[in-house]
Amino acid sequence: MSVLKIKEISKIFAGPVRAVDNFSLDVADGELVCLLGPSGSGKSTLLRMVGGFETPTSGVMTIDGEDITHVPPEKRPTGMVFQSHALWTHMNVFKNLAFGLKLRKVAPDEIKRRVDGVLDLVGLNGYGTRHVAQLSGGQQQRVALARSLVLEPKILLLDEPFASLDQHLRERLREEVRDIQQRLKITTLFVTHGQDEALSMADRIVVMRDGKTEQIDRPDIVYREPQTPFVAGFIGTMNLIEGTVSNGIFSKAGYSTPLPVSDGPAILAVRPEALDLSVVTENSQGKVHRVTDYGSHGLVDLELLDSTRIKAMVSHPDLFRAGQGVTLAPRAIAAYRGNAVIHRA
């Protein structure tokens, strides 16, 4: 039963670097929120402020209504999992997990019971006597997770915990962590710059850029209805075509399509999977540049007349060949002007 509230938090490093800029977020009880954004967008800084490892320049954070803004990390009810596991290499697995419990003066048999329980939870039964160096990367990350979980923190913080693992292992651990998180109903803040990770795990995604929020929404909404061109371009693959609108027609280098908005510049956003192509011999709007067959589907790279690159997903890639002329028929579009959505259809 834990709620994290972050209110107008800023962090300015010497420089000055506005790493986190007036950021607010409420994480509901048992919710898993992903912080997603490009490198340097302030995700780690924000997470480290929640964990108590950085002091905010301004703003307030509360857990269950209690102000934790200036509470040192050892007194916070948060548990952090670091990217580089940060296990204590001079202790074995059991001692790593027992350290926090010992500090809390838990009785030895109770410590043993809880450590065994959490090892079971992360699938490392019987690994207590192993040394950290004798574990694989995935096992080390599991121990690091267990080290936080064994203390039953109110808020679990994870900073790219799988970044150093290979793709296959990453996907498996992602599912395991999500399972454990839902089973324990633990409120979680998860940093990643992998959109797959965010889309597959999160209850809600926060897309960050330059220390600020671009959008906070459920994954499917972030994907289907990105609020800004930045989010549109960052999540999934998106064709962003910058052109102009006049008299309700958007045009860009020989391509035009109706767009019922006022005259002016506009960015047209079309997903590759929402763009139909047809091969034509004349009046083409674009030219096929390359066709890639992925088996289940194909991807056509094409160029508009001014060589703007566009991608389209097709179900029958064998119908297309490099050099062919095509016309474009988007099934779903969004249009942006500046940072705002001006049209969606």
């Binding site: 050892e74 670091f82 940060a86 296990l87 204590w88 926090g100 809390r104 936080s148």
Partner: protein, 272 residues
Amino acid sequence: MNTLVHRRADWTGIIMAVVLTLVIVLPLIVVGTWAFANVWRYPSVIPQEFGLRFWYQTLARADVWTSIGTSLTLSLTVTALSAAICLPAAYAFARMEFPGRNILFFSFLAGHAFPKFGLLVAIAGIFLQLNLIGTFWGVVLIQLVGTLLFMIWIPVAAFQSVDRRMEEAARDVGAGPFRVFWSITLPQAGPTIAAAVLLSFVGTFYETEGAWLIGAPQVRTLPVLMISFINNQPVIQYGAVLSVLLWVPSFIALMFARRVVNSGSFARGFGG
């Protein structure tokens, strides 16, 4: 052709080995032999008579035992004090930002950049006014200065190489700053710091200039006693026996250093 090159390389190796043996091992052997020679007169290559006569004579002297006691107490006191002062300071240098940090750091090392004897004489002048000349604590103070280099420089490197995330993880599970230092940072930097402590112990044990200038004649360490033996007695064996006695800490240090170097953490201590 190939074999020729190999032969030549081997010869270089052999010459190196011989030279090293002559320079390092031979004096040790000569001193070692002297210590166990009851009679050894020119021109014989080996002593006419081996035996422990001079060991009995040396160890029967009260001043030898007093000085062994003095040396051990001094070295232990200096090393313990040095560790108590330098380790926290090294941690501060490695991990904290404070005004004057670099200047202070260099001032620790600067004592070793100048000819030491001049510095010692200056300090002796000050100690004279403070009535510290000829006292145990006077020698402790002067020898403490001598350990600063090892006990600051090496631990700073060792602390710097400890992963900060490990310390943060310990804070995260509930350890206060002191507990983190004790349970995480110190053990992580442990082997390297042990080497530094050992170096300072051995260095203090062998230190003569400061001990002689400040301590003599009231406080006499084993090396100082040895020097006075050599200066005052025509019998080489006394000096040789004391010298062999003085090897003991070196051997212990070497055995220990080998373990540390083998474990690879020695290089890590230098930021490697």
